[in-house]
């Protein structure tokens, strides 16, 4: 079999993190080859390298046997590689036809040829079964699914010999259209690299798959030779599971936060209950509605339907301040952007939300402030000496602890933690876990989203699996494992244990 793409030892580093680590694989001409992996496995870096948007540090790519080292999108397109990006690359202020014909916009030398490219667009839309779109329509007016389809059609329209589809079904309500299109364009001359985490789709389309984990190729397999469980094991990697004390047989208290039929832009009919004394985990791949859910609970985003009840009472807050008054503290993932206030001391960062308690007649009293914050700093293992330092000088992990201390000091009863352990060191992770346990032991409740499935398994009382904006499965923390969660959050084998709450 002829090889169309050969990748050898491809490596790309960003600072201290290695996004791609000696990635090596080959793709047969005319095949549909899958690239699978969890969030952060290196899929998008690979796509960017193949598309010419990013130059790898070392390693080589060969296309039809010839060296392929594109340094711009134009160059990779010129070599017959075309990409439908997950982070969609359409321009909302331009029309459908303009987007489809960028950057050339007709064959004119100086002026664009609108009639020409609008006619070409109409032809493409008809050919690829998008009759609902009109060439002169602005892309900003399209739905997310329509934009995704347009993005794919645009990539196809360049008549590539290698087509990269990056999560092409992520925004589509069903795959019928996509599969129809692939059927239509398939030929011995066209190779498709299909990047997805939806194993069911991959099985339907692809013959072979390369599995990435932490920037490395774990294996390249013929899909007919492996069962789903094996693929999930390859993706998830049970090996780096640290032994964690599992919580078993805990009884939890009264409902703390009840979410019923919540709806929003990315949230569809979401219902769950968080109890007092409970650590409730949220497992989800990127973009399944978890971010919006957290924002709604934190008062930072308004639901379009459904109810939230806090402590048994229907809540009416619509601002973060209102959520705080209801006892809800939200620790966002982007600490730099939303959490810390740079330029002032760690101490001030901790006490800023509780100044009422540490000030006399509105003037913050240094000593009182210090004394008051000390127990909370201890609770999160934040060393006392950091309190007097500028928060900017602290490591990410210690900043995280300071933010947690602030939330505790506010006296919140409910903590919403959005991926707090991402990118922090093992020691900090451990203190985050301990803090959560202590917090819930004293009656608080924690809703915790983490991209690291293995830690959810270890720490949570229950884990909710989000998929396309709703809860598709729920597992007791001590009975589930990474593979099971992975299956559920990829929309695969979901529902087996759903509806147990």
């Amino acid at each position: 079999m002829q090889t169309v793409l050969q990748v050898d030892d491809l490596t790309k580093r960003y600072g201290a993190t290695t996004a791609l680590d000696r990635v090596t694989f080959a793709v047969a001409k005319g095949s549909i080859h899958a690239i699978i992996g969890e969030n952060g496995a290196g899929k998008s870096t690979l796509i960017k390298s193949l598309s010419g948007l990013q130059v790898p540090d070392s390693g080589t790519m060969r296309l039809d046997g010839e060296l392929f080292a594109p340094s711009s999108l134009g160059e990779s397109r010129g070599r017959g590689v075309s990409t439908a990006f997950q982070e969609m690359s359409l321009l909302g202020n331009l029309t459908v036809a303009e987007n489809l014909s960028l950057p050339r916009l007709g064959s004119g030398r100086l002026f664009v040829r609108r009639r020409q490219y609008e006619a070409a667009a109409a032809e493409l839309l008809a050919k690829y079964d998008l009759p609902g779109l009109s060439p002169a329509q602005r892309v900003g007016e399209l739905s997310l699914a329509e934009r995704q389809k347009l993005e794919i059609v645009r990539a196809v329209s360049h008549r590539p010999k290698l087509l990269l589809l990056d999560e092409p079904s992520a925004a589509l309500p069903d795959v019928e259209w996509l599969f129809g299109l692939i059927e239509k364009i398939r030929s011995p001359e066209l190779t498709i690299l299909y990047i997805s985490h939806r194993l069911a789709e991959i099985r339907d389309l692809c013959g072979s798959a390369t599995v990435l984990r932490n920037g490395r190729v774990v294996d390249t397999v013929r899909l007919s030779d492996v069962d789903d469980g094996m693929v999930f094991t390859l993706m998830g990697g049970a090996s780096d599971d640290q032994v964690r004390e599992k919580r078993t047989g805990r009884t939890t208290g009264a409902p703390a936060i009840q979410v019923d039929g919540l709806r929003g832009d990315t949230v569809r009919d979401l219902s769950f209950t968080l109890h007092d004394g409970e650590i409730l985990g949220v497992a989800a791949l990127e973009g399944q509605g978890q971010a919006e859910t957290f924002r709604m609970l934190a008062g930072a985003s308004r639901p379009s339907g459904g109810t939230i009840a806090v402590g048994g009472r229907r809540s009416k807050y619509t601002t973060p301040a209102g959520a705080l008054r209801s006892g809800i503290s939200f620790v966002a993932e982007e600490r730099k952007a939303e959490g810390i206030m740079p330029g002032i001391s760690t101490l001030a960062n901790i006490t800023i939300s509780s100044l009422g308690r540490t000030s006399t007649l509105g003037v913050a009293a240094g000593k009182k402030e210090y004394q008051a914050s000390l127990p909370f700093a201890r609770k999160v293992d934040l060393d006392e000496r950091y309190l007097r330092m500028d928060i900017d000088a602290l490591s990410g992990g210690n900043q995280q602890k300071a933010i947690l201390a602030r939330s505790l000091m506010k006296g919140s009863k409910y903590l919403l933690l959005y991926d707090p352990s991402r990118g922090v060191d093992v020691g900090t992770k451990a203190s985050v876990y301990r803090m959560m346990r202590e917090f819930t032991d004293s009656g608080g409740a924690v809703l915790w989203y983490s991209t690291d499935l293995s830690e959810l398994v270890g720490i949570c009382d229950r884990v909710l699996c989000f998929y396309r904006g709703s809860v598709v499965a729920e597992f007791p923390g001590h009975e589930t494992d990474v593979e099971e969660l992975l299956q559920a959050i990829t929309g695969h084998g979901a529902g087996e244990k759903a509806g147990q709450s």
Binding site: E87, S89, R104, G140, T266, Q288, A291
Partner: protein
């Protein structure tokens, strides 16, 4: 209708017409050729600069060098001593060259070195102002006759200023039909998406700053025709008015939306306002207050009509973006 209203151009046109009607009623000799020419002469430098600035704003940048280039062009012309048409031509060429050089420097800094546009152009603005003082330490001098009164007079019955303004309109309309004319909107809205669509974003930005620099220099020449003399610190108010014209015209600071036609109409609004206030006997000291107020009102109306005309994009933001407020 909604869509038309939500475009800043329509709004600016309505305001301009309304203001002109008020102006007509305020004074009997508004429609004399002399008065009309005077108005056009006042508007021309604003119109040209606003055209250039609009391009920069649309592409997602900011350009403070405008004031510097205008001043530089002005003092270059005011220090041309020859008095002949030849020396005037040399002066004009030097002035335009200065604009191109400053524009190229801005473009290089912003597009290729990724310096924030406000910082880069603030730097070049200060440099230009400094250079202007070196060329001409104190106000005075006079510009060659070819410039003043040449450029504020008429060719037959048609004022030169009108020709210049029409040239701006025509050039912009033509530019909108070029590849660049569409690329600037793409880059201004979302640079990485533009790059992923195959657009060479850096080259687009560089050319925009270059073109803008040239246009500011032309504006400086026209302004010199109006003032007839040199002033090394004279452009601060002018620059603010150009920004106001662009804002009235509905361009979105931050990029991706705007039209030079809107900005040109915005410049017209400011010029007519000045005349109108003078005609109804308001002291010129108050002009600034009214200009500022008009700016705010126009932007507010623009925002409201934009909201009315907006078809809500359905869940365009991804979940991740919704959380962090920035691209994932």
């Amino acid at each position: 209708m909604r869509r038309a209203l939500s475009s800043g151009t329509t709004l600016a046109a309505i305001i301009l017409v309304a203001m002109y009607i008020v102006y007509m009623y305020s004074s009997i000799d508004v429609l004399t050729t002399e008065n009309a020419t005077d108005l056009l002469n006042n508007a021309a430098p604003l119109v040209i600069s606003a055209t250039g600035l609009t391009l920069v704003i649309v592409v997602g940048g900011f350009d403070l060098s405008l004031g510097g280039v205008v001043t530089l062009a002005n003092v270059i012309l005011a220090t041309q001593t020859g008095g002949t048409t030849g020396s005037a031509a040399v002066g004009v060429l030097l002035a335009l060259l200065a604009g191109v050089v400053v524009g190229a420097l801005n473009g290089f800094l912003v597009a290729y070195l990724n310096v924030q546009s406000i910082a880069a152009t603030l730097g070049t603005f200060i440099m230009c102002s400094g250079l202007a003082l070196v060329i001409m330490p104190s106000p005075g001098g006079s510009v060659p006759e070819f410039i003043s009164p040449g450029l504020i007079s008429s060719v037959g019955p048609v004022p030169v200023s009108l020709l210049v303004i029409l040239a701006c309109v025509v050039a912009y309309l033509a530019f909108r039909r070029t590849r660049m004319g569409i690329h600037i909107f793409a880059v201004g809205l979302d640079e990485s998406a533009a790059i992923q669509s195959g657009i060479k974003a850096a080259a687009v930005k560089f050319r925009v700053y270059l073109a803008a620099g040239l246009l500011y220099a032309v504006a400086g020449v026209m302004l010199s025709a109006l003032t007839a003399s040199g002033d090394p610190n004279g452009s601060a108010v002018f620059m603010v008015l150009v920004f106001a014209a662009v804002a009235i015209g509905g361009a979105k600071f931050g990029g991706g939306r705007g039209s030079a036609i809107g900005s040109i109409l915005g410049a017209g609004v400011l010029a007519v306002l000045q005349k109108m206030l003078f005609a109804v006997g308001v002291s010129t000291f108050y002009t600034g207050i009214f200009q500022g107020a008009i700016l705010i009102v126009a932007v507010l109306i623009g925002m409201i009509s934009l909201r009315l005309g907006e078809t809500r994009p359905r869940a365009v933001t991804t979940d991740q973006r919704a959380l962090t407020g920035r691209p994932a």
